[in-house]
Amino acid sequence: MAGAALAKAPFSRSANETEAASNAVSVRNIDVVFGQGPHAVTALSNVSVEIPQGSLVTMIGPSGCGKSTLLRAVADLVPVSAGEISVLGRTPETARRERNFSFVFQDATLLPWRSAIDNVRLPLEVGGGGTAHAEPAELLALVGLKGRENALPGELSGGMRQRVAIARALVTRPKILLMDEPFGALDEITRDKLNEELLRIWQETGTTIMFVTHSIPEAAFLGQHVLVLASHPGRVKEFMHVDLPYPRRLAVRDTLEFVQITAKLRQLLEEC
């Protein structure tokens, strides 16, 4: 496989360069298989998707559809069995080493002995630190935690901890933000608030965002596009454009257009 890639190198390089201008992430015909032999489980089968630069794509699907696996494959946390993923024209591994993307987990995964601001600083202290970085204090202000810089995670609410995790993800000034059900464990009121704030941060930073969720309203409210995945095996059902203007406020969810979009998504998911 390495030989084939080498032979194609001159062509694929130029292809990648033009593509890098338009697509932040491009996934081509990937399979992800866990385990071997008779116990092998196909998590993703022949998945292809193009994520335009600067876009916000939400990913939704029934459990077991591999939406998290797809995100983890882009993040180089899961190896692909076949096909190719290109992140800004690089392999996921190179993109990871160059700090081109950040990952936000469902769990805030803060180090409980570090204050909020020290948690935000963590990416600058490990793995070579990366080249570009933002001011941790400014990021905490951006996520609405001004004045709580020295609080320990144990002293913060679940919503606040997730805000710190978002600030930490932004500290390396990533071009891509990968979010795996980041608000899944939060109550609805907190989730709504963070949804609105994420849109604001997205527009202020111009970061490409891939956002996995299991909530239909969340997928429709946040996404410029919604990637709908079907399960067993995980595959692309539909890549749907959400025709609602930004900036979106929470009230948009009470409009007829929004309800029509969620109805369409619900219908797609039922077919999965």
């Binding site: 946390l77 950040s102 990952f103 987990f105 180090l111 409980p112 320990l152």
Partner: protein, 271 residues
């Protein structure tokens, strides 16, 4: 409601009142201790128990006064052995745990040996070590170390592995090296587990030193226990036992204080 008002008033008032509050909170344990001592005194009086069999609390207190010098002379060697054993045993356990966590083969090779060593009664090891190292301090320190070793090893391995999988994913996304993961994540998250073991070790190291002193030793609290027993000096025996217990309690308290200074964060996963 009245309780809240009550507490509010106490905050405003003097240290004496806080002391009263503490006594109010602890009175059951204080009463239990005082009651036990009284009962002990009454039994000794009531049944006319001879002093060589069981001394009264007054006799023991008297022994502390008259034999204070003897107790103190034998206290220092035991303290030294216990502390040296505590340091050596825990340090070995911690280093071994770090090795085990980074090398699966080492863990598989040596962990069974560690378990086997732990199953040998310490009292059976003591004579062997006396044969090898003689009557000096060395076998005592080794036994105190051995008794500390196993709980710390097990807890430290558990603590170093008790990192949330998502945290390890995070460190991978950040391209952190193994040593960075160790210093920034594993070591810190192992601390609650380590201190749980150190608290056990702080009392068992004293037991180790004393048990070692029973076997052919001319100094230390352990030797004094044997000597007092054979000479029917019951008040001295009791005073020695209390001294040893007091030493263990002091070490335990010190470890607890260090723990509360070092771990100021909440560890939701450790019980």
């Amino acid at each position: 409601m009245t309780d809240i008002v009550h507490r509010g008033v106490f905050v405003e008032e003097s240290r004496f009142n806080r002391w009263v509050e503490a006594v109010r909170y602890r009175w059951p344990s204080i009463a239990a201790v005082v009651g036990t001592i009284l009962l002990w005194q009454l039994i000794v009086w009531g049944f006319s128990v001879p002093t060589y069999m069981a001394p009264s609390p007054g006799d023991v207190l008297n022994a502390f006064r008259t034999e204070g010098g003897l107790l103190l002379r034998n206290f220092w060697p035991t303290l030294g052995e216990a502390l040296a054993g505590f340091a050596a045993g825990n340090l070995t356990a911690i280093l071994l745990a770090i090795w085990f966590v980074h090398n699966r083969t080492a863990e598989r090779a040596f962990f069974p040996i560690a378990v086997f060593m732990h199953t040998i009664p310490i009292i059976a090891v003591a004579p062997i070590l006396v044969l090898i190292f003689g009557n000096g301090v060395t076998p005592k320190v080794i036994i105190a170390a051995m008794i500390c070793f196993f709980p710390t090893l097990v807890n430290m391995v558990r603590g170093l592995k008790a990192v949330h999988p998502a945290t390890l994913d995070l460190m991978r996304v950040l391209s952190a090296s193994r040593s960075e993961i160790f210093w920034k994540v594993r070591l810190q998250s192992s601390l609650p587990f380590l201190f749980a073991a150190l608290k056990i070790a702080s009392t068992t190291c004293v037991i180790g030193a004393i048990v070692a002193e029973w076997i052919g030793s001319s100094f230390g609290l352990g030797a004094l226990i044997i000597e007092a027993t054979y000479n029917f000096r019951a008040p001295l025996l009791y005073a020695t036992v209390f001294t040893a217990a007091l030493l263990a309690v002091c070490l335990f308290t010190i470890v607890s204080i260090v723990e509360s200074r070092l771990i100021t964060w909440k560890a939701p996963d450790v019980h």
